[in-house]
């Protein structure tokens, strides 16, 4: 839940969120009719370098994006999760934002354990649409009412939603989603047991943002997986990263 901070609901019409705040917080934002913006996604045209006065250049591109958004979007408050479902980097970013912004920066610690399922992760939607739906789901407390049907997987994407969705375009629609993105859909971002679930039967790309602590877990799981590829990407997908995914999927027989 939110910490000890008092939340001035009457003054909040437009709020930014970073990470996955608890369902109770999202539910309260929904109940107060607050317009929610997911600051983890690129929302403004401003260059990532505008975050440099506040965060080092060599730092998680998601959090740098969140800072750029927080600086440029006209928000009334920021809710940033710093619990076990997020990271220390977000904790420090919250401190920095609290000192730089004139609006309330409210920290939360999401320890939700109620599993709401993964129909999107296991559907036949294109992978880009899967992740768009999952990340959009962060802004509402309830799971979608019309879950898509299950398809058998031929590949898997494990990891966090990348800052640059371009890499997702290379995967077949029969790609299942694992890792923290699966936890997001399940609305249990701190469920490390679920995050560790992999499908050893299909080729799996283990993805993490460069400079994120999850690179260690992604690489570790990829090494143990019988058919895994570890990949980290910073702000933008490089040609060599795209080529690696394309070659991995093609040589594994899991292409479109």
């Amino acid at each position: 839940m939110a910490g000890q901070q008092e939340i001035p609901w009457q003054r909040i019409r437009k709020a930014g969120i970073v990470g996955v705040p608890p369902r109770a917080v999202i539910g309260a934002l929904n109940a107060h009719g607050v317009e929610i913006h997911d600051l983890d996604e690129p929302l403004v045209r401003a260059n990532l370098a505008t975050a440099t006065p506040f965060l080092p250049t060599v730092y998680c591109a998601i959090l740098r994006t969140a800072v750029v958004n927080a600086l440029h979007c006209q928000l009334d408050a920021v809710f940033i999760d710093i619990g076990p479902g997020k990271c220390d980097a977000a904790r420090y970013t919250a401190q920095i934002l609290a000192q730089q912004l004139t609006i309330p920066v409210i920290t939360t610690e999401n320890t939700d354990r109620e599993r709401l399922g993964n129909p999107i992760s296991e559907s036949g939607l294109p992978l880009v649409e899967k992740l768009q739906r999952i990340t959009a789901g962060v802004r509402v407390a309830e799971p979608p009412a019309d879950p898509p049907p299950f398809v058998a997987p031929t590949a898997s994407f494990w990891g966090v939603p990348p800052r640059d969705f371009a890499i997702l375009e290379l995967f077949p629609a029969t790609t299942h989603v694992h890792g923290w993105t699966r936890c997001m859909e399940n609305k249990t971002p701190a469920d490390h047991e679920l995050e560790m679930v992999v499908n050893t039967e299909v080729p799996t790309v283990f993805f993490a943002q460069s400079f994120c602590a999850k690179t260690a877990l992604a690489r570790h799981l990829a090494k143990r997986h019988p058919h895994g590829l570890y990949l980290d990407v910073d702000a933008h997908t490089t040609a060599s990263a795209k080529a690696k995914i394309q070659a991995f999927l093609e040589l594994s027989g899991a292409t479109l």
Binding site: S240, A243, K244, F248, S252, G253, T255
Partner: protein, 221 residues
């Protein structure tokens, strides 16, 4: 069918209609601007062909054709980057493509040898090495060594050895590796690897294109 491996420094061309002819090697900077082929790979290939195959796929298919074993590690050291595929039981087990941190090492070797007028066939394998992470940083080591009195040929050889050790580590430190690319004809480079090396020459990717063209393996685009 015309095939082209459009590398950063050199382009390798082969016409499958001329069976028995050796591939042609042309400096990429000297290519006619209107040159086109049917199937291409390499950094500069996309704009020169109707169909493009990514380099890792071409490398893997070329390795399957030339090595003809279910288990192998094939490392390609190009002008601009290094990349490898590791096959196990006929399936892809691991791969890597180092285009940024390991950049321009092959290009830098050629540049230095031309600048200092060195014959790579006459260079000796040095006992010392530089810790090389990329061509640009490696050059600073060479200049520092020359300033400190190390003969130019020795300094460049240390750089070459550093690249080999770095490439071996990048490929996962195998006991045996198959080598692809223009550095296959560099004695110091070959002998600097701390493992057994089987050089396959600079036409491995072209062989991969040929394998794809003749449908030995599923096609890609």
């Amino acid at each position: 069918m015309k095939l082209g491996d459009f590398g950063t420094s050199y382009t390798k061309l082969l016409d499958l209609a001329n069976a028995g002819c050796a591939p042609e090697i042309v400096p990429t900077k000297d290519l006619p601007p209107d040159l086109t082929v049917d199937l291409a790979t390499g950094h500069n290939g996309k704009r020169c062909a109707s169909r493009y195959v990514n380099e890792l796929i071409a490398l893997a298919r070329g390795g399957e054709r030339l090595i003809a074993r279910p288990d192998f590690l094939l490392l390609d050291c190009g002008s601009r980057d290094i990349k490898f595929v590791r096959m196990h039981g006929g399936r892809l087990k691991d791969m890597g493509w180092n285009a940024e941190c390991g950049a321009s090492m092959g290009f830098t070797i050629e540049l230095l040898e031309r600048y200092y007028n060195l014959d790579r066939q006459k260079m000796s394998v040095p006992t010392q090495t530089f810790s090389v992470t990329c061509g640009v940083l490696g050059m600073s080591d060479i200049f520092d060594a020359v300033i400190a009195g190390v003969p130019v040929a020795e300094a460049v050889a240390r750089f070459v050895r550093g690249i080999a050790i770095n490439a071996h580590r990048f490929a996962g430190e195998p006991d045996l590796l198959y080598l692809s690319g223009g550095l296959c004809d560099h004695p110091v480079f070959i002998r600097s690897f701390p493992c057994e090396v089987v050089p396959l020459g600079r036409f491995v990717l072209l062989n991969g294109l040929a394998a794809i063209a003749t449908r030995e393996k599923p096609q890609t685009s």
